[in-house]
Symmetry: C2
DNA sequence: TAAATAGTGTCTCTAAGACAATATCTC
DNA sequence: GAGATATTGTCTTAGAGACACTATTTA
């Protein structure tokens, strides 16, 4: 068939009589306005809080990395790390590059969250943000925290509903870091996602980053339940109680130990090592089960 | 405090001595290259297939809308409907605008899926695609199908794993429409999402739209289990068997009727109306339960 | 009456939550 | 031994799947 031969040879011609190669060679990009596209990253980790009693286990806290803005707009506010995407890379690659620059950590879990595109979200110009969530193992964080950037800092986050008026919910993100503590207030519809929320009071946060962070948290909580995401927040060897604390910290509620262990059992592999010098019965160390479901 | 007063009055000055207002007035966007950003839409509906027997219920099929390309590149291939985002709108608004233009339907469920950003995904120039999933009630579709665009057509889709080599899975998307039937082959890692898949053989599909469609399907299947998404695919009144068929069609497997009805019960509200003239026992008509969880 | 779907009751099995009982370390 | 956590066993309950049984319509 003549027609099939043409497809095979890629010489289909358009209404101007051009082949695809000819078309592409003559193509000039139109005059559509183009936005800048940046990646913003919600880098989560779970850190130990100060210890109180030599016997008690340390409390854990969900933390994220932010950077203090040294220029306008939002001078002095805290913002998510990020940067512009280059024409030679995917947004994934851009995010990984930024992450490397910002934290020095390369091999971390990275997941695209959502693209925020409100035309006014950056007062300078039209900038869309393709947001990402990164999960970092707490032991690696200890090395990197306050590494070079005097302006980067880890903040504990808590997200809780403050008020409910009919279908509209009012949520508070509370950030507590060494250098600052502040609160961001968001509003959203009951069934809606934080991707569709509205910032009511930025507090000390820059841009629309409150929405991004709240959505990142929502995603993290959701996926925690039916994936093995949590292991990206753990060091190689950990106790089941540590793992349980990480779940509890992220979900914001306590879990029954027996049920937790049953559920998590197929995902972990026990070792012959135990914790020591802890003021109580030693705990077996586990690691992630690679093969098992 | 002087400092707090400055914050309150928004007269913080940057290292050049500018206030935020002064900075923004003098801001000139840098020379970073900018991508075009388009929205692409996976518009799903569930349609009845031809009836065979006056007694039997029609089989259902998951369908999506595609448009035949009339110009290069990918001349003659089928592509997802979509278009460029304008500087005055969000990607959501752009998607809704395109949807309105394409199908004439306004009030439909719309959800952002993923932003695809491979630098080479469009051979013309640097174009990112912020993809969306739309769900349309099948009864509305009947009116719109083949409305004006001779080049728009509904295709039945099926997605199934074809082969598994170690950690790499090979998947086939099979499209069957009135005007054409073809197959797209994708590859992905076992645990990975289709957002990270690779098109191995486009078949008759344009661009990287196979990835987008497969990811849309993955999202739809996932959310079907724990949300009330399915109701967006239903007309106002429906039987529980119809609802069940929609679930089965999307999930690609049969479900036990008794368990399905128990699970779905709190989401629906029975009416006093029944189907008629169906060659078998009439079925009660239900509608979505607005209040109940 | 046959064909076909509609709708419900019950049994089993699994998993989650509640809770108690036991184990074992360090100071 | 006291204090604290680790770990397991058991009971109850909720929900999913299997399956059978009954109900109801039309040609």
């Amino acid at each position: 068939m003549e027609w099939e031969r043409r497809i095979a040879e890629k010489v289909l011609r358009d209404k101007n009589g051009l082949t695809e190669a000819e078309f592409l060679a003559s193509y000039r990009s139109g005059d559509y306005p183009r936005p800048s596209v940046a990646t913003d990253m919600v880098i989560f980790t779970v850190m130990d809080q100060k210890e109180e009693n030599y016997r008690k286990l340390p409390e854990k806290e969900l933390c994220l990395l932010m950077i203090k803005r040294g220029g306008h707009p939002y001078l002095g506010c805290w913002a998510l790390p990020g940067g512009f995407v280059r024409p030679t890379e995917t947004t994934d690659e851009a995010a990984r590059r930024e992450l490397q620059e910002e934290t020095g950590v390369g091999q971390v879990y990275l997941e695209q969250l959502y693209t925020f595109s409100d035309p006014g979200r950056d007062p300078r110009t039209w900038v869309m943000s393709c947001s990402y969530m990164a999960l970092i193992d707490s032991s690696k964080v200890q090395i990197q925290a306050g590494d070079d950037a005097a302006w980067a800092s880890w903040f504990g986050v808590q997200c809780k509903m403050a008020e409910k008026r009919g279908e509209t919910e009012c949520w508070e993100l509370v950030f507590s870091g060494e250098d600052a503590t502040f609160k961001t207030v968001l509003e959203k519809k009951s069934k809606a996602s934080f991707a569709d929320s509205k910032v009511v009071d930025r507090g000390g946060l820059a841009f629309d980053h409150g929405r991004i962070i709240a959505y990142g948290l929502e995603r993290l909580r959701g996926k925690l339940q039916y994936t093995d995401l949590a292991f990206h927040l753990m060091p190689e060897y950990f106790t089941l109680t540590q793992l349980q604390r990480v779940y509890e910290t992220i979900l914001g509620k306590g879990l029954p130990a027996a049920a937790f262990r049953r559920k998590i059992a197929p995902l972990v592999k026990g070792t012959q090592q135990y914790t020591q010098n802890e003021g109580h019965r030693p705990s077996r160390l586990y690691r992630k089960n690679r093969e098992g479901n």
